[in-house]
Assembly symmetry: C2
Homo-oligomer: 141 residues x 2
DNA sequence: AGTTTATTTGGCTTTATACCAAATAAGCTT
DNA sequence: AAGCTTATTTGGTATAAAGCCAAATAAACT
C-alpha cells in the first residue's frame, strides 16, 4: 500500500472524493455538479485528474467509482474531517461552526498529525458530524 | 478599527507580514528574499500588494514597515500561529512538529475560531515557539 | 563620475479552480 | 431505427496566488 501524507489532494478534489464515498456507489458528473454547485465541465476535468491519479475508476459518460486506493483515501479524508471537527468542538465551537471551520483548512493537515491527535483522543468513535472509522488509523503504540 | 476574519491574507503574504513584525523595524526586500528563500522580484510584488491593501508603508527602494493596521494584523497572525501550535502540542506533536504542521494550515483558520480556542485554553501566555500576546484578543465573556 | 548593488518592472510559467460554448455520446421516444 | 433530448466531455478563456528570469532603474559607494 502506498504511503499517504494527507497532503496530496487539493481541497476541492478532496471534497469530490468524499462526496463519492458518501454516496457509496457510482456517481454521475451531474450529481457532483449539482451537489457541489460547480459547473459540470469543472467536475468532468477534476474527475479526469482524480482518475489519472488512481483514485477513481472513470467510465466516460457513465460515471465514476472509487478505486481501492481512492476508497482508502476518502476514508482518511472523512476521518480527518471528523477528528478535526471533534477537536474544535472541544474548544467551544458548535458542531456546525466546527464543521465549517474545518472544511477550510483540513486539506492542509497531514495524516501524521491526525494519527497523533487521534491517538491522544483515544481513537474516538463519534465525531460532530458522523461516526469515525479507524480502519486505516494506526492504533498500535 | 476594521473587523478582521483572519482569512484576508494568503499564506505567503501572512508569512511576509510576520517576518516584518519579528524584525521590529523597516525591512528591505533583500532581507525578505533571503529570509524566505524567494526571488526578490517576487517579494517586491508581494510587498506592493500588501502596501496597496494598507498593511505596509512602502518607500520604494528604501524598505517597508508595518502600518498600524499591518502591525495589529501581524500580531494576530503570530497569536494564531502560537495558539494553534500550542493546541497541537497538547495532542502529542513535538514543538517542532506542531510549528511545521501549523504553518501549513494556519492561514485558513478564522479569528473567530482562534478567539474561542484561546478562551477555552484560558488565554495562555506561552506557546511552543514564543510568548503569546493577547492585545487584540477578545477577553470578555 | 562610474561601478556595483539593490530594487522594481515586464514578461512568462505553473497550479488550482471555474466558467461558457461547442462537440459528442447516451438514452428515450415515437 | 431515427431523431430528439439530456448528459458528458472538450476546448478555450479567466482568475488568483505564487514564483522565476531578464531588463530597467535607483541608490550607494568608491
Amino acid at each position: 500500500m502506498e504511503e499517504i501524507t494527507g497532503l496530496e489532494l487539493s481541497p476541492r478534489k478532496a471534497a469530490y472524493l468524499k462526496f463519492i464515498l458518501e454516496k457509496g456507489r457510482t456517481v454521475k458528473t451531474t450529481e457532483l455538479s449539482s451537489g457541489c454547485n460547480v459547473d459540470p465541465s469543472t467536475i468532468s476535468k477534476a474527475l479526469n485528474d482524480l482518475a489519472s491519479a488512481g483514485y477513481l475508476n472513470h467510465v466516460p459518460y457513465k460515471g465514476v467509482s472509487l478505486s481501492v486506493k481512492g476508497k482508502a483515501y476518502a476514508e482518511f479524508l472523512v476521518r480527518r474531517h471528523r477528528i478535526l471537527g471533534l477537536l474544535l468542538s472541544h474548544y467551544g465551537l458548535s458542531p456546525d461552526e466546527a464543521c465549517l471551520e474545518v472544511s477550510r483548512f483540513e486539506a492542509y493537515v497531514s495524516k501524521g498529525a491526525i494519527d497523533k491527535i487521534c491517538k491522544a483522543m483515544g481513537h474516538p468513535m463519534v465525531g460532530v458530524c458522523g461516526k469515525i472509522k479507524h480502519n486505516e488509523c494506526v492504533y498500535k503504540s
